[in-house]
Subunit: 523 residues, 2 copies
């Protein structure tokens, strides 16, 4: 399939903006009817293609700005770019200062009688890059590519975007998908609205985060400091990839995340394993035994009470079953024969808190190996949180479990005296990073977005009850006391966080289509 | 205590070499008598002090040669230095070529009627250095230091060695203790012999290893290739530190070492722990469970048959009990409350094979931590071997144990098909590095060296049945079919393998004393 851009241009000549606007408005009148909805979808689709086409120069400019938040001087350029881009579109912008780089708030009141204010969350910074692993000049020099059988992704001239383009072509650059693509799509959707002389029937606030990839360390305080500025009725997050099937998706919640670092102590210093092997206790063994005691052979947490409070009733299971996961394909992709036995399928598994060893280290392996009894062994654990589990309770359960294994549990390394008086010593450090959130399907924001998505695509969106990953949204949900919903738009195979991140042009077009439908959907 | 070097000089003037020689010979005649043995010890001690004094210039020169075996051009300078030093002392030298740097053989036949040939093993290369962690100009620029209360080790001018010196002063440089100190002591002992016009009643062969710190990878083949050249009746190794008490020590054996690398496989690539936590099996957990299953809570190997064949009868236990270990001091030094329960004490623990996790890694920890389900988890294991355990049998037991835990055990990473058809997959790689050896206390070489040590120090040496560590001696023992014994001479607190390696001058003097007594002891 190739987008017939040329023909769209002809159409645009034939139907000036006002007319198109009227046509849309007419459609809106009849959106109750399925057949007309199809035609509306068709219009959204055509409009989106046209506006995608207009966006590539500006998108190139935005993607050319380095945006690793470890470098605040680079981030400043992104902030300035956003200030201009939003001001140009009639938004009033305000920097919300933090200890480091600011957040940016852009606000636009509707001229319609508005009862509601929608807060939109966008993210501008990107993961650090390892340029040597990118197959292009620079991660911050966008490259247009098409897939060629036997050759993989082959760069083609950027000016190809001036004419027809294939929805399967992709733009490769850092943050194309995570999440400058969504930012650009949002801006182009507002351009479309303007040309259509349409307006949302709600006020818009857009909060832009420039430290998301660092874990938004200053966001919770900023939300408190600027509570009045951010006040809204609901939060919509344009971030993340769609469901694996790449169908239009709504995500109603996300797991939170807490982390634990466990360090088990052996001898004061690494010891020669010959001189003391069989005599001096080995911390790697002890850590292994400690970790092994936390889960059973099927990957289920064996700490009593860990899953307490989570009940998946038949209705919930049915809702979860509607997500079109292909479990065989997932296992194939992961390269595993069998999944953990926590739940019956992936969507159900995501409704439970997890206990994952994300890193483990003692001594050295491979070429650096040394024949020692290591002095310490460390495990990094992440606990994905769900709404039903109080994170502090889960962390306490883990800590108590370690104590029950006979450990003196400290929040610092042991003193010499403690070493000589306690056989088993463990340092336990924990942190709650993000809390979980979840919005009901039949909430106001839920129903509104489902309506908009149906109109945009003439079909039911994939509705995910909870995404497995964690996003820094809980400060909004808890401090502002508003429900939140995520509208992911980009292709799932976008290499997010990795070299050769990309956005599929078809997804970029549909991102504009999605956001336009949402902004036009009455609330 | 200060060595009265000046007075020794006066004595030397008063008693020319021949006279001293006669005096020694006279003493030797009466060595059966304890009181005369004391006087002999006194003479050995004085002679050793005098020859230590003469050695410092040459020792400085030897220590100034960089000797990290990763740099063969540096090693060549050490080989040449040894060639000259041994030739000067009447040894015939021969390079035994290997794939990399050669071994050096130095040979000297006695003019006495000799029935036996003694092969001496010396080691010249040193561990890699991290100069930034040495408290002196360079690890290869020897520094003389004395300990000053509240200041630690303070450098004093090298020329202080021209006059009196304190036995507690130390020379700091790479390989002072491990093992150029022993090389220098051997050379000075032969100088003393020459001046005394004394001679061993056995032929001497000295084999010099320049790759010991790399694990002597070419030694086994070289011993086979040069079997005739190396032919001898017994092997004496001058290497390693004395017993912790720093008393004269003989070590009758050493544990061998085999290694195992275990890699457990999770997803094909690291996965986002949010997206797949609770679903995708975690290899760090599985490795932990696997390692935990290998030992009990007291550090004893739980694999049936692992300790088979080891019986410590009462006689052996008594012999082991004679080693003057201060277990409380050892635990204090290690910073542990309790030792593993494999045996009742350290010496007994060293009579058993060990299974030690020397390194363990999965994902990342600390600042590099990433919130993933790692793709693999690796454990590096070392198995210290004893004479009673066939290494191949021990390795098979471990491998079978892994299989019994439900693993597909491979000697390579799994294929895609294996991944999808087997839930638990482990790569198992093993290697037997050195075999164990042990010589009986009442063997010919044992009795001979015990006699010599008694005469040198007028007391019984500490007799260690087995050292815990491993040395590349088994090729000699097995290929040449001769017994071996280690004579360690340096201070146990010498920072061997670490920055600020040093030799205590008192130990250096006693090393000369030890070797001189051995060379003079009839066999």
């Amino acid at each position: 399939m190739t987008y017939e851009t040329a023909s769209i241009r002809i159409k645009k000549r034939n139907f000036p903006a006002q007319l198109q606007n009227m046509k849309i408005k007419l459609c809106l009148l009849f959106w109750g009817s399925f057949s007309l909805a199809c035609s509306a979808q068709n219009d959204f689709s055509k409009l989106a293609k046209s506006y995608a086409h207009q966006s590539f120069e500006e998108f190139y400019e935005l993607l050319s700005l380095a945006n690793d938040a470890h470098f605040p001087e680079d981030i400043e350029k992104n902030v300035q770019w956003c200030e201009k881009a939003f001001a140009k579109r009639g938004f009033r912008t305000k920097r919300l200062s933090t200890q480091t780089v600011p957040l940016l708030l852009a606000e636009k009141k509707t001229s319609k009688p508005a009862k509601k204010t929608v807060l939109v969350y966008l993210q501008l910074d990107g993961q650090p890059v390892d340029s040597s692993r990118w197959f292009q000049e620079s991660p911050w020099k966008p490259a247009l590519k098409k897939q060629v059988k036997g050759k993989g992704w082959v760069e083609i001239p950027w000016k190809n975007l001036e004419g027809e383009f294939d929805p399967d072509w992709r733009i490769f650059a850092r943050s194309t998908s995570d999440s400058k693509g969504a930012v650009m799509a949002f801006l182009k959707a507002t351009d479309a609205l303007k040309e259509l002389k349409a307006e949302p029937n709600f006020n818009l606030k857009v909060i832009m985060d420039f430290e998301e990839e660092l874990g938004s360390p200053h966001l919770p305080q900023a939300v408190k400091d600027y509570k009045e500025d951010l006040a809204a009725d609901m939060l919509v997050i344009f971030d993340g990839p769609r469901h694996q099937s790449n169908q239009p998706t709504l995500t109603f919640g996300a797991r939170g995340i807490a982390t634990v670092t466990l360090t088990v102590f052996g001898p004061r210093f690494p010891q020669h394993s010959g001189h003391y092997g069989n005599y001096c206790p080995n911390p790697a063994l002890r850590l292994s035994q400690l970790l092994a005691s936390m889960k059973d052979g099927q990957g289920r947490v064996a700490i009593p009470g860990f899953y307490e409070g989570i009940v998946l009733d038949e209705e919930t299971k049915e809702i979860l079953a509607q997500v079109p996961d292909d479990e065989e394909a997932i296992k194939n992709k992961l390269g595993i024969a069998k999944s953990d036995a926590v739940a019956e399928n992936l969507q159900e598994a995501l409704q439970y808190p997890s206990l994952n060893i994300r890193g483990m280290r003692s001594g050295w392996v491979g070429e650096e190996v040394r024949t020692i009894i290591p002095a310490t062994a460390t495990a990094e654990i992440d606990v994905r949180l769900v709404l039903e589990s109080d994170p502090q309770r889960l962390l306490s359960l883990i800590r108590q479990h370690v104590e029950k294994q006979g450990y003196l549990v400290l929040d610092r390394p042991p003193t010499s005296e403690e070493r000589l008086s306690h056989d088993k010593i463990c340092q336990f450090e924990s942190e709650i990073s993000y809390r979980a959130f979840r919005t009901e399907f039949d909430s106001e924001v839920g129903k509104w977005l489902i309506r908009a998505m149906r109109k945009a695509f003439s079909k039911e969106p994939v509705k995910k009850r909870t995404s497995g990953g964690s996003i820094p949204i809980s400060p909004f949900v808890t401090t502002l006391n508003i429900p939140a919903l995520t509208v992911p738009t980009v292709n799932p195979d976008n290499n997010q966080h990795s070299p050769n991140e990309n956005i599929r042009l078809g997804n970029f077009v549909e991102a504009i289509q999605t956001i336009l439908a949402i902004l036009m959907e009455p609330l």
